[in-house]
Point group: C2
Chain length 330, copies 2
């Protein structure tokens, strides 16, 4: 049996091997993935983001177990750590291996650390998600460690985006919340047994009112457009704010039901197809940009580019002037 | 007088106007910046990154005041908030306006929020830094809110990278530290009056030993190479771990002296020129990629790209297959 056939037969070791090939940018892995691609588009993708210290990992584990128990479908967790370019995610890997998921073979965890630039990680994550999707996982939870924009960009490729908060994490948290709130389909205040949980819920609800019915959309140039969430005539989705104590399992069933409700909402409103198209469009544009740069560099114009860089280093031309001269503009 | 002349004469309002033009991607702004570019390359750039809740903003303000007092040079603070794509950084802006810098006209603060994709913010930040540099600021402090990889990528374009930690911020902090530590030239444990400060210092020091003499370098494909910090024969820089209580001003003079020592070290070891070249090389490659994609899209091949995307959405081709077909590969 080929690797492809073994993956489709449910062999987890073969799947793990494919994921490693994808992470290593092995051409064989991309070929297998292309063969698998027609089988994608069935899994429901849940992006989970939030600042360090919110107890995100514990929450994700609990949600995975409950999704598995309630729906019977296999659940994949893709834990992305964009802030670990140097260690290759070794620390994160250790932490994840220690997670207690009761040895359930229906829950599969894969940790990913950046091996290069941001764009690379986003694309590799998309490929890993596709592999799980094609392999028949019904739910793919994409958990990002950290809460910078990279993490938000990765999370917003999902169908359902869940933002995790915790009461009073520090003075910078209010500001860092500002950007990710509007991407949220679901807000969870974890560690709700700590003081300040109700305040956090109220603060989130009033922020949501400000952003009601609006959603940021990025075009392929990365420019931001603000559009309404749903076409006129469709009922809008109002992001619920839920409280959990993940360490005790409290509130987890409600989170799982909210995810399932959101899925049903998306199916009814056409949002599922729209988000799928947005995700694939971003992937196609990013790949195109990468390939165009590769083509330029392998077309024998490397020395010209080197000379342009020298002019910039010598402050004889600004970066823009140098590139415009290189591409023959005025 | 033109805007350019007024900026060079030290007019702060004209500088602020140029910065707004750059943020709005106004062609006039980029033209002024190109005229200013020959005057860049003199400021010392300090990148400051760290997780929310570490008291980074207070530390940056104190460092700015002390740098100003000790060196007499003008200091710019560029506060970058990549996690706020939707609000346009309004919250951050408010927070920054409230900062107490005693009305010193020799310290200039500019907050920047993302208006689109990550790459855009990194490039706009580079342009704003160039504007301050050309306008004669001796020190430019680039402070990033949040500690994801985007923030690290922005911080590592600086000459000196300062990573701020605080004692015991939560269970995710150990993991998120892993990636940014190796980019640090200087480590600061702020809030050192809290319990656990000495433990944090020890943990950082032992992590540093692991990474001694190694530094991650990204090539223009965003691939990671691990290289030695200094060419053989040069003394390596050993990142000091300092303790501060920024709210009380404790430890700030030591941080400022460490920044100045690092500058002197870089001048002696050739590291200053190397980092300058790396920074400009990243900028030139990013601009080239952006322009190539623009050229492709404006060359009349938009409909072909649209058709390729439809094939992907229909799962008739994987993103890679579709792009390779588009660019005429096998």
């Amino acid at each position: 049996m080929s690797l492809l056939e073994r993956i489709l037969a449910g062999d987890r070791l073969s799947l793990a091997r494919l994921l490693t090939q994808i992470e290593n940018e092995d051409p064989e892995g991309f070929q297998t993935l292309s063969s698998l691609f027609p089988r994608t588009g069935r899994a429901h993708l849940v992006g989970i983001t939030g600042a360090p210290g919110t107890g995100k990992s514990t929450l994700v584990n609990r949600v995975a177990q409950t999704l598995r128990a309630r729906t019977g479908a296999a659940v994949a967790i893709v834990a992305v750590d964009p802030s670990s370019p140097f260690t290759g995610g070794a620390l994160l890997g250790d932490r994840i291996r220690m997670r207690d998921l009761s040895g359930d073979p229906g829950v599969f965890i894969r940790s990913m650390a950046s091996r290069g630039a941001l764009g690379g990680l986003a694309r590799t994550t998309a490929a890993v998600v596709d592999a799980f999707d094609a392999a028949g996982f019904g739910w793919v939870l994409i958990e990002t460690v950290g809460a910078g924009q990279a993490e938000v960009e990765i999370a917003r490729t999902a169908h359902t985006t869940l933002v995790v908060e915790a009461p009073s994490l520090g003075d910078d948290v209010q500001a860092s919340k500002a950007g990710i709130l509007e991407a949220a389909d679901l807000l969870v205040v974890n560690k709700a047994d700590l003081p300040g949980a109700d305040n956090a819920v109220r603060a989130l609800q009033s922020s949501l009112e400000l952003a009601a019915n609006l959603r940021p959309v990025w075009d392929h140039h990365g420019r931001l457009e603000i559009t309404e969430v749903e076409p006129a005539g469709q009922p809008a989705w109002i992001p619920p704010v839920l409280k959990t104590v993940a360490t005790l399992g409290e509130g987890i069933p409600e989170v799982v039901e909210a995810i399932r409700s959101h899925r049903i909402h998306l199916e009814g409103s056409g949002g599922l197809k729209r988000r799928d198209r947005e995700r694939l469009s971003a992937e196609v544009h990013a790949l195109l940009g990468e390939r165009l740069l590769e083509q330029f560099l392998s077309s024998g114009r490397g020395p010209e580019l080197g000379a342009a860089l020298e002019r910039v280093v010598a402050r004889e031309a600004s970066p823009r002037e140098a590139i415009e001269a290189l591409l023959g503009r005025t």
